[in-house]
């Protein structure tokens, strides 16, 4: 069931509600057939972008193009997009297959074709035996799939998903992630997926845009965003980080040395900082090591043991120094120090630390 995805281009798009700027001028190019996520905390403007692409909101400045066609002034019912709402918004008085066939009816498909096509889509989302039920008789995950089938029925070039998995429990959410990814691959439709859950964004997306306060901070693949966050917000929002705060002592193009209350540390000069800048050094918990007290190396600092959380396949160890908390992830696959309950010395390699100018963090 191949459909055709289209590019979505935002050119200098900004959106204001009265005096409040929801989206600051933004340029964004989403490729045809891409699974693109917009990741950010609630209120960052990600849903506003989605509603703008779907046509429920008009841009204040700039324009939206879908497959090279300008969308200004084109209503949601005429755009080649389909939106999956956060609460799914299934039609409660219609059966599953009628829900799916609704869009086809609106596009004047003949009755017999509608029904057949609806059943094909219901098969696609593996709900064949539920077609004659009402949405209220389905489970959360099944309703979710009805919403996907209903949206795909109109053969949209772009499918917009507004945190559709947030109401599901963890196991189902993980299953639906794989399911959505499979459907996206199979149909070739451009998916724009809104979420505040970095796990969802990282597992499903080809590329991710990280947003904060109406500004897109970074657009890249999940791997690169995780490995090379460009702002303190991205570093702290996507994945966890240990943070060392201080002032740049020495700096060149590649590395910078920071002097902090915990000591002097060297890390990659991500922000091209110069001497005497207030800066933050981020180290991922899995890059932080408990080091041999005897060994001599750079980037070492002593910490006091606080607590240990077993997560199953890995362990989180929490340490403290000067009221700062440090986390170390250790996998359960035979790493040493797994059962640590005492004070230790932490260290990390300079390649695993990123130095950035002081900026806002997530949830602080």
């Amino acid at each position: 069931m191949a459909m055709h995805g289209k590019d979505v281009v935002l050119e200098n798009v900004s959106i204001k509600f009265g005096d409040f700027t929801a989206i600051h001028p933004t340029d964004l190019h989403i490729q045809a057939g891409e699974f693109f996520s917009i990741l950010g905390p609630s209120g960052c403007g990600k849903t506003t972008i989605l509603r703008t692409v779907s046509g429920f909101l008009e841009t204040t400045t700039g324009r939206v193009l879908i497959g090279d066609e300008e969308m200004t002034g084109v209503g949601p019912h005429l755009r080649p997009t389909a939106l999956i709402f956060q609460n799914l918004a299934l039609f409660p008085l219609m059966k599953v297959w009628q829900n799916v066939a609704f869009g086809l009816e609106m596009h004047n498909w003949p009755k017999a074709d509608r029904r057949q096509r609806a059943h094909e889509l219901i098969d696609l989302v593996a709900l064949s035996d539920q077609a004659d039920k009402f949405p209220s008789e389905l489970s959360g995950g099944q309703r979710q799939r009805v919403a996907v089938a209903r949206a795909l029925a109109v053969e949209p070039a772009v499918l917009l998903l507004d945190e559709p998995l947030s109401a599901l429990d963890l196991k189902l959410r993980q299953h639906m992630r794989a399911e959505l990814k499979r459907i996206q691959r199979k149909t070739g439709v451009t998916f724009i997926y809104i979420t505040h859950d970095q796990g969802e964004a990282l597992t499903m997306s080809d590329r991710i845009a990280v947003m904060k306060d109406g500004v897109i901070q970074q657009v890249d693949t999940g791997d690169r965003i995780y490995a090379n966050p460009v702002t303190p917000f991205v570093a702290s929002f996507v994945g966890e980080s240990n943070i060392l705060r201080g002032r740049v002592d020495e700096a060149d193009n590649d590395f910078a040395v920071l002097s902090t209350p915990q000591g002097r540390f060297r890390g990659r000069n991500q922000g091209r900082l110069v001497r005497d800048t207030e800066a933050m050094l981020f180290v991922r918990p899995e890059s932080m090591r408990i080091s041999d007290p005897e060994a001599e190396s750079e980037n070492r600092f002593p910490v006091a043991f606080a607590r240990r959380d077993l997560e199953g396949s890995f362990v989180n160890l929490f340490f403290e120094q000067n009221n700062e908390e440090f986390i170390v992830h250790l996998t359960n696959a035979g790493a040493s120090g797994l059962d640590a309950t005492s004070n230790a010395i932490l260290s990390f390699s300079p390649e695993d630390g990123f130095v950035m100018a002081v900026g806002e963090l997530a949830d602080e």
Binding site: S54, P76, H77, F85, A89, V154
Partner: protein, 349 residues
């Protein structure tokens, strides 16, 4: 019952049951039963008993009139002439009373006969008015629905909360004025030389006889009962998730199809309730047709009932007419519930 006793104890339960039964009997059953009973009997008079009775009534009237004259004479300054007049009147009254007593001895109590007669004597003219009333009430209901649905939808889904509050307030405020005053206001507007015709004349249109054509009744009724249609629809539309409307739009539905496929089906219970209330109020309205037509067009059925009770003093036929109307209204309720596929439970919500 058992659960009631468990939660309230035997004494409170007895009290609750008693109060409920009193409510049901006094408020619901008794008045209806009295009316129904009344509608199934009439007096049967033998020979010229009816004429005799009428004669007695007439004589009583004369006695009353003379009595009034007498007390007027007594109150005036006491002159010989007045005293003479009083005694003459007294003598006349005594004479009449004697005749009355004589006649009353011959008078026979009429017999109370139970039959369907009261229902069957409705003439063609009255039946035509009954049908006309039902049809006109249906029309009022339909007009009210057409007027109210957009209002209810706008208030529930399109307006900002503050604007919605203003619109609702605007709808409610006129209801703080007495119904008669509101009807008279419309009378003044739609009168032959009223406000509407004045404005029409200004743009060069001949005056229109709104009232004589009966259009005035429709206007005033829709106005008088609009709230009873708006609020039930508003309540159901309000519960419709806005994103469902947006989803339909997103899937390519033009506005009218969204209403036809999504909003209207959702609002069904509200439409049924609003239609039932509006229809019952319209069919049972007395003051609106009375004031708006002033006899220039055929009466509403309620006016016939009123006339039976208070002008021809025939309560039995009046009760039969009233019961007929009640049956028609009840039928309408069931038909509406059938059409809209709603149950009593949905309606009472």
């Amino acid at each position: 019952m058992n659960s009631l006793i468990r939660s309230f104890g035997p004494f409170m339960t007895a009290l609750i049951v008693m109060l409920c039964s009193i409510w049901v009997v006094v408020m619901i059953v008794a008045p209806q039963l009295i009316m129904v009973e009344q509608s199934f009997w009439h007096w049967r008079w033998g020979g010229d008993d009816a004429a005799l009775s009428a004669r007695v009534d007439d004589l009583y009237n004369q006695v009353d009139t003379l009595g009034l004259d007498k007390s007027a004479a007594e109150a005036a300054t006491a002159t010989p002439e007045q005293t003479q007049k009083v005694s003459a009147l007294s003598a006349k009254i005594t004479g009449l009373m004697a005749t009355i007593q004589q006649l009353e001895k011959q008078e026979v109590k009429p017999k109370k006969i139970y039959s369907m007669r009261n229902y069957l004597i409705m003439g063609g003219g009255h039946f035509a008015i009954f049908i006309k009333t039902i049809l006109a009430s249906l029309a009022v209901t339909l007009i009210a629905l057409v007027v109210c649905y957009p209002i209810a939808y706008t208030v529930a889904k399109l307006a900002t909360p503050s604007k919605a509050a203003i619109i609702l307030l605007g709808l409610v405020i006129p209801y703080s004025i007495n119904e008669l005053l509101r009807i008279f206001a419309w009378l003044m507007i739609l009168n032959h030389n009223g406000v509407a015709n004045f404005l029409l004349q200004r743009v060069g249109i001949e005056p229109i006889a709104f009232l004589d054509s009966g259009a005035g009744v429709f206007v005033a009724m829709v106005y008088a009962y609009i709230l009873f249609m708006v609020f039930p629809i508003y309540n159901t539309v309000e519960t419709l998730d806005t994103s469902v409307v947006e989803a339909a739009r997103d899937l390519g539905a033009p506005m009218w199809k969204i209403h036809w496929h999504i909003v209207l089906p959702h609002a069904k219970p509200g439409i049924a309730v609003g239609s039932i209330m509006t229809f019952m109020l319209a069919a049972g309205s007395y003051s609106v047709p009375y004031v708006m037509t002033r006899g220039t067009s055929p009466p509403w059925f309620t006016q016939l009932i009123y006339n039976k009770f208070f002008e021809s003093n025939n309560w039995n036929t009046g009760a039969a007419y009233a019961f007929t109307l009640l049956i028609a209204c009840t039928l309408f309720i069931f038909v509406m519930m059938r059409i809209f596929g709603v149950s009593i439970k949905d309606v009472s919500r």
